[in-house]
Amino acid sequence: EAGVAQSPRYKIIEKRQSVAFWCNPISGHATLYWYQQILGQGPKLLIQFQNNGVVDDSQLPKDRFSAERLKGVDSTLKIQPAKLEDSAVYLCASRIAGRTDTQYFGPGTRLTVL
């Protein structure tokens, strides 16, 4: 079974630029998450999708971050404009559906904002 795919793996941009990350979850997984992991900290949930609907985006900085999952499969996370404090690893994770199901993480995208 293929895992969660993410691209790009690394991205370096200057502050105030825009950036987008892509995630392809495990086939058949209805729930998709985007996390932000700052160095030395645990993953922080940014947004949770159930199919193509948003379940929780309470910690998403909506003035600069946006995410979509139009067809209930792939998802993109965008930052516009980026700030220095956005430097982090952005992790995508998916699970089949229920809260007790295993959550599988992708390799992440390491973003550096200069």
Binding site: G42, P43, L45, D56, T100, F105, G106, P107
Partner: protein, 114 residues
């Protein structure tokens, strides 16, 4: 909001020594998950605990969920160099504003000296 704290933040052990990390939540949890993240890698699911007082074992790893479902622990017996990494707990809120929200602790970084 829901907070999940882990202690210690760092633990250095000699190979063969035991290791324990503790996880405490500010709110009651419906279930708790443990993950391991190797340096440069992504979190990998280890186990989930659901029942009050539950104890589960995986070879040298023992996981425990507190009676009040607000704390958990992970104990590794006779550590090996392959145990190196950061261990995260992540809990789902059981009620109120934290219901259904998954919050990660900040992790315990384990170093094993051969």
């Amino acid at each position: 909001g829901q907070q999940v704290m882990q202690i210690p933040q760092y633990q250095h052990v000699q190979e063969g020594e035991d290791f324990t990390t503790y996880c405490n939540s500010s709110t009651t949890l419906s279930n708790i998950q443990w993950y391991k993240q190797r340096p440069g890698g992504h979190p990998v699911f280890l186990i989930q605990l659901v029942k009050s007082g539950e104890v589960k074992k995986q070879k040298r790893l023992t996981f425990q969920f507190g009676e009040a479902k607000k704390n958990s622990s992970l104990h590794i017996t006779a550590t090996q160099t392959t145990d190196v990494g950061t261990y995260f707990c992540a809990g789902y809120g059981a009620g109120g504003t934290s219901y259904g929200k998954l919050t990660f602790g900040q992790g315990t970084i384990l170093t094993v000296h051969p």
